[in-house]
């Protein structure tokens, strides 16, 4: 069996394999190194992005409060001597009382200086006083000590965003205000607290009073409308196309166009919404209803494509087994195919919804970019959504909105992470390959 020619061939073959082996191993190591480098780069970029946002945005979650001693002067806040809530709410001049007390405490003379002093406090301060007086009417005519919100400039000073070493003309907080600030700080009247208002109020012209809750509610209502429209329609379309539609030119054409639709730039859907929903059907402007309809159009192809892929992945043996038992085709789909495809369909839907949640451009076209202070109460109320709120704040000149912008980005990213995590969780939970 050992032919000399054969053994020579094997000898040469072994040598060649050995030479090739080290080359192949090198190539393999090189490829692995490329992969590691790519991943490290991606992680670095992600960390940089997250780090920048966190560094800019974390200060949005707390804010400066100042303790003031206020004399609740009856003549100003209860001029007719009545301390019932309605009088206090409608007639009381709490701003006047605050100014009076501050002027007295800091011995300020002159209109300009008075204005500088009161400008250290948020306009929310007088409302805080008012709420306190309404809750405790017996305090009227007495001296009280109360914590009120500082103005945005003072807040920025506390957070170190305003530099004291600049010449006075170059900074928002003037020398005289710095003196008062330092005195307050020395008397332990300055405090930073968690910014609950950021999560409970709507937009405002004043950075220290601006909150994201209005945008969160707007986003929620918009997503609700999107989900209610896009999920059933997308699911029904996918099931029909995958399980029932005959394979012919028409269905091929529909399939191609669904794929095309998924690639259409989102602003085009916005223009469509403007032309059709607003101008033709005359639906309300700036409303989550219309925003949801536009985003539903945008999300629909994503859901259809994801759902069809999931349906296609259900093994044909399950369909055959059910058909062989005499189940009708609707029964095959509803009893067997859909339950098996559901995890994939849900994942696709959530990812489509997450994309819609971050969408800005189409909503600009239908007027959801308006300045809206109120928290929307329903899908037809004017409102804004989180990404548009970020866009609006990023556009504002005040220093205080810079941190608000990053803070809102953090909130938006948190929502997206939660949605994507729930997609993963749902897939793992329902993915039963028994």
């Amino acid at each position: 069996m050992t032919d000399p020619a054969d053994s020579v061939l094997i000898e040469g073959q072994k040598e060649k394999v050995r030479q090739g082996l080290s080359r192949r191993l090198r190539a393999e190591r090189r490829f692995r190194a490329y992969g590691v480098v790519a991943i490290v780069l991606a992680i670095l970029m992600l960390l940089f992005l997250a780090g920048t946002i966190a560094a800019n945005g974390y200060s949005a979650f707390y804010q400066t409060w100042i303790k003031v001693d206020v004399f609740l002067d009856e003549e100003l806040i209860a001029p007719d001597g009545k301390t019932d809530p309605q009088t206090l709410r409608e007639e009381g001049d709490f701003r006047g009382a605050l100014i009076e007390s501050l002027v007295a405490s800091y011995r300020v003379r002159g209109r300009e200086k008075e204005n500088r002093l009161i400008a250290m406090f948020s306009t929310d301060a007088e409302r805080t006083l008012q709420r306190h007086a309404i809750a405790n009417p017996r305090l009227v005519g007495k001296n009280i000590s109360i914590w009120v919100k500082a103005s945005s400039d003072i807040d920025q000073l506390t957070k170190g965003a305003i530099r004291r070493d600049l010449p006075e003309s170059g900074r928002k907080v003037k020398d005289v205000q710095l003196v008062w600030y330092d005195r307050m700080a020395a008397e332990n009247r300055i405090e930073t607290r968690f910014n609950t208002g950021f999560f409970s109020t709507g937009d405002s012209r004043e950075p220290e009073q601006a909150g994201i809750w209005g945008a969160i509610v707007g986003s929620f209502l918009t997503m609700l409308v999107t989900l209610i429209l896009a999920f059933p329609v997308g699911l029904a379309a996918a099931v029909y196309l995958e399980e029932f539609a005959p394979k012919n030119r028409l269905t091929d054409l529909i399939e191609v166009n669904i794929n095309n639709l998924a690639a259409v730039p989102s602003i085009v859907f916005g223009l469509l919404g403007l032309a059709v929903f607003l101008n033709f059907f005359e639906l309300p402007r700036s409303a989550p209803l219309v925003g949801g309809m536009v985003l539903a159009l945008m999300t629909l192809p994503t859901i259809i494509i994801a759902a069809r892929a999931s349906l296609l992945a259900v093994p044909p043996s399950v369909r055959e087994a059910a058909l062989g038992l005499g189940a009708s085709r609707v029964q095959v789909v509803s009893h067997h195919v859909l339950p098996l495809a559901m995890p994939g369909i849900l994942t696709g839907t959530i990812i489509g919804m997450a994309r819609a949640l971050g969408e800005t451009a189409p909503l600009l076209m239908i007027g959801m970019v308006a300045f809206i202070v109120d928290i929307p109460g329903g899908p037809t109320d004017a409102s804004t959504v989180m990404p548009v709120q970020i866009y609006l704040w990023a556009d504002s000149p005040e220093r205080g909105f810079v941190e608000k912008t990053s803070g809102a980005v953090i909130v938006l990213l948190a929502f997206l992470v939660v949605m994507n995590a729930s997609a993963v969780y749902l897939r793992k939970k329902f993915e039963r390959r028994w």
């Binding site: 043996s317 062989g324 038992l325 005499g326 009708s328 009893h335 390959r433 028994w434």
Partner: protein
């Protein structure tokens, strides 16, 4: 996947008694009769002019090399080919003298009478109980839970699986071994109360012991059901069947009593296949 896309061409009904029986003298009355069945997949002519009689309460084995059309023929018998868009079936197929491709026949009804067991065990991803209960539930065969439980137990007993699973009806059907899964599929088919059971290479993914168990079961089931089995194993065909039909390249070459086919085939292709010269 449109059921309507299957074309049905009614050929002249076969003259009843006058025609000579191609299978020779039958011991059992004919349960299913096919005449001139042709199947096309788009351009491909998969089955040519197949005329075969399937006797009641006996096992008919369909043998032949891969791609010979035996599975295609089997799937014509309960109209499973309806689900394939490009598949076109012509000719006449009867169950108890009734044309099963007639417009008046509902496939759901038909498949309730003609059960099917597939090549790969395909229990639903549900519990053992629900697997067997699915058919009766879909067809509304039982009035209450007690009847359903009784039917499930009976079906599992007939499939020889009851003793092995009686303590774990709630376990997933897919947790069983391959052979048990296949018997579960048989129990599932029986639970609907069919008259005919079609088996498409039911043992091809099983080990020899599980195969022997299924073969025993087929022999028992023959008392009550008409069985058509596609198999690649000639030994299996010889062991379990009473009639054998040999297919080759879309043609039905030869059919007859199983002992006759295996000991004294009339056609030389059959001879070649059963002696292992090709296949």
């Amino acid at each position: 996947m449109n059921e309507k896309s299957v074309e049905h061409v009614v050929t002249a009904p076969p003259p009843e008694a006058a025609e000579a029986d191609p299978a020779g003298a039958d011991r059992n009355p004919v349960k299913m009769r096919t005449r001139g069945v042709n199947v096309h997949y788009a351009e491909k002519h998969a089955l040519r002019d197949v005329s075969l009689d399937i006797g009641e309460r006996e096992v008919t084995a369909l043998i032949g090399p891969s791609g010979c059309g035996k599975s295609t023929f089997l799937r014509c018998l309960n109209r499973m080919n309806d689900t394939i868009d490009i598949c076109r079936v012509t000719g006449r197929l009867e169950l108890d003298g009734q044309d099963i491709y007639a417009d008046s026949v509902d496939v759901v009804q038909l498949r309730a009478s003609i059960g099917m067991v597939f090549q790969k065990p395909n229990p639903f991803p549900k519990s053992i109980f629900d697997n067997v209960a699915y058919g009766p539930r879909v067809h509304g065969l039982v009035a209450d839970r007690a009847d359903l439980e009784q039917l499930v137990e009976q079906s599992l007993r007939k499939a020889g699986l009851f003793d092995e699973v009686k303590d774990r009806f709630g376990d997933p059907g897919t947790s069983l071994s391959g052979g048990q899964q296949q018997r579960l599929c048989i129990a599932r088919a029986i639970a609907v109360g069919p008259e005919v059971i079609l088996m498409d290479e039911p043992c091809s993914s099983l080990d020899p012991i599980a195969t022997a168990r299924i073969e025993e079961l087929i022999d028992e089931l023959r008392q009550n059901y008409t069985i058509v089995i596609v198999t690649h194993s000639m030994q299996q065909a010889a062991r379990v069947s009473q009639k054998t039909a040999f297919f080759h390249l879309g043609d039905l070459i030869e059919q007859g009593e199983t002992p006759q086919i295996f000991t004294n085939p009339r056609d030389e292709k059959t001879q070649g296949y059963i002696t292992g010269r090709f296949g």
